[in-house]
């Protein structure tokens, strides 16, 4: 898998017409001969293609993505010491935890809310409640996140001034107590988290609803009902357990979408996470950072999928006890 990702990212690097040094110059007339020379050195563009790929692979394995062209040439991934012994933090090192925080809160909320919505919708199939939840799901699927973000920013931030609309901290947050700082951070996170979880919420609610409907029509549910269990017991202990098991796999699958979606949410709300870093790097054609984030994003997805697979195997007693493969 990793080799495949390295191949594709290598391929993208070579998409640019001519070589990337000339296209960079075309976009950015200010690109000096010096920075083009650096780019050439970084990716060994004067060597044959196979050698270039080998060297790129080596850099990826060593997680060495070089230094940024912009942002005072800070290291892309991890901190290094400069000649005077000062520690310079890496760009991804600084921004990744923020993106992870937003997405982890997002995933947690998506699952709690969509399990509730999906279950209600399935249990009360074809009722008014079910129809309005389904309608909400369709709208949430179709609504462009950046548009909703704009409207919410305008409504809660400009008209009513309920919530802060950009950044992660208030200007004076350092004067708050620790609890105050925590709530300040929380307040800043409400809008971006809600925007980034919207489409995931719709998808997973629909998934839970369909899964529940499937399970509710199976024989063991009829058995449970006919032996006189109350409905609550049937739904929560028998049906729900079986319906939400496949969700663990869906967590893994939804990670690339969430990470990708953070680009829009973070750049609108000016949150210094990986998505905004990526967007800024694309605008400035800061190739080392772009390649670094692309690789790290994919590695994160792989880790997420792996955790999801292990989680599934752990949660399903049939797999855990080796009864089925």
């Amino acid at each position: 898998m990793l080799i495949g990702i390295s191949l594709i990212s290598f391929f993208i690097m070579h998409l640019a017409p001519g070589d990337i040094t000339s296209s960079e110059a075309a976009f950015n007339p200010k690109a000096s001969e010096e920075s083009r020379q650096k780019l050439r050195e970084l990716y060994n563009l004067d060597k044959p293609v196979i050698t270039q790929y080998g060297l790129w692979l080596k850099r990826m394995v060593e997680l060495d993505f070089g230094n940024s062209f912009a942002s005072h040439q800070r290291p892309v991934l991890w901190e290094t010491k400069d000649s005077k012994g000062n520690v310079i933090k890496g760009l991804i090192q600084e921004s990744l935890p923020i993106t992870l925080l937003i997405n982890l809160i997002g995933i947690f909320l998506i699952f709690s809310v969509s399990i509730v919505l999906g279950t209600i919708s399935a249990v009360k199939q074809n009722s008014i409640v079910d129809k309005s939840i389904t309608f909400f799901i369709f709208v949430a699927f179709a609504i462009p996140g950046f548009w909703l973000a704009l409207l919410l920013m305008y409504w809660t931030g400009v008209v009513n001034q309920w919530l802060p609309i950009s950044g992660l901290h208030s200007l004076d947050y350092k004067s708050f107590s620790e609890i105050g700082q925590f709530f300040d951070l929380l307040k800043h996170l409400i809008l971006p988290v809600s925007i980034s979880m919207l489409s995931g919420l719709a998808g997973i609610s629909l998934y839970v609803r369909n899964g529940m409907l499937d399970v509710l029509h199976q024989d063991f549910i009829t058995t449970a009902r006919s032996k006189g269990l109350n409905e609550k017991n049937v739904i929560f202990t028998h049906a729900l357990k079986n319906a939400i098991l496949p969700l663990i796999t869906i967590v893994g699958l939804s990670i690339p979408g969430l990470i990708g979606g953070s680009v829009i949410a973070e750049s609108i709300f000016a949150i210094p996470g990986m998505g905004k870093l990526f967007y800024d790097s694309v605008l400035m054609r800061d190739f080392p950072v772009i390649m670094g984030i692309l690789t790290i994003g994919s590695v994160l997805t792989l880790i997420g999928t792996l955790i999801a697979d292990i989680g599934y195997a752990w949660a399903d007693p049939r797999i855990r006890k080796g009864l089925v493969k």
Binding site: S9, A16, A142, W147, Y279, L294
Partner: protein, 271 residues
């Protein structure tokens, strides 16, 4: 319309899409002004009889820009999904029909592509190329063929075991004939459904890219970049933000309803 009998949502989707297609095709006749005509005497006018959706920061008529924007959105959607579907059918057919190591390689490729966050991939490619409407269509197409590939492969795998396909193979039909005459026509339903749903997501991606300034470039109007202008003036000119967002919402909703409706209607299990 008999096709959609009893499926209200699909009918609504069908009507929405028909209206938007009509508007997009006849944009030149319907729009009251030239979408790129700059009139400094009518900057940021609210909606009125003269300008039904108001004017933007350069005095351009928003309704006209919206109508031409519909063209761009649908055009990008169709072409991008066309590319993705063709690639998907091609790779999926090969993988599903031949199996073995070809299948393993193609499915591995699908897994790899799926593990790269697609919005990152699209942005990265755009960073290395120039953002333009053609590049966007190609990039969206090249990054969204994985679903169709899996779908076609799965259909082929199950169809290949069926008697009529076995009969055709035994009677000595060429592989090409078996694929194009028997396997593909019988897997069309899921392909159509996924293409319709694919257009919805392509429209969303295009508008997102244009909103970020990395999609369709000014002065060409697209719903995404009208919204970018709207962001600048959100405190004084709500109409610049409201209409393009609504248009995207309704279009995507229309395609999703139509796609889900088609799935129900065309699936014989539901009859």
């Amino acid at each position: 319309m008999n096709l959609f009998k009893g499926n209200l949502l699909a009918v609504i989707g069908f009507i929405i899409i028909s209206i938007i297609l009509f508007v997009a095709i006849f944009a030149a006749l319907l729009s009251p002004y030239d979408p790129n005509y700059i009139d400094i005497n009518s900057i940021l006018l609210p909606p009125s009889y003269d300008h039904l959706m108001g004017t933007d920061g350069l005095g351009r008529d928003v309704l006209s820009r919206m109508l031409y924007g519909a063209r761009i959105s649908l055009f990008v959607g169709f072409v991008a999904v066309g590319i993705a579907t063709l690639i998907g059918i091609f790779l999926g057919s090969i993988a599903g029909f031949y199996g073995g190591w070809i299948d393993s390689i193609i499915m591995r490729l699908v897994d790899i592509m799926l593990s790269i966050p697609s919005f990152f991939l699209i942005l990265a490619v755009i960073a290395f190329l120039t953002p333009s409407i053609w590049n966007i269509m190609i990039v969206i197409g090249l990054t969204s063929w994985m679903g169709v590939t899996r779908l076609v492969r799965a259909e082929f795998l199950s169809l290949r075991q069926r008697d009529f396909v076995l009969a055709s193979i035994v009677m000595g039909s060429s592989n090409k004939k078996v694929i194009t005459k028997h396997l593909l026509p019988n897997s069309l339903t899921p392909i159509i459904v996924s293409s319709v749903l694919g257009i919805a997501s392509a429209v969303l991606i295009e508008s997102g890219l244009s909103f970020l300034g990395l999609g369709v470039q000014a002065p060409t109007a697209s719903w995404g970049n009208i919204l970018t202008d709207g962001k600048e003036y959100i405190q004084f000119a709500w109409w610049l933000s409201l209409f393009p967002g609504l248009a995207i919402l309704v279009t995507v909703l229309g395609y999703n309803l139509l796609g889900e409706g088609l799935r129900d209607v065309l699936d014989p299990k539901n009859k």
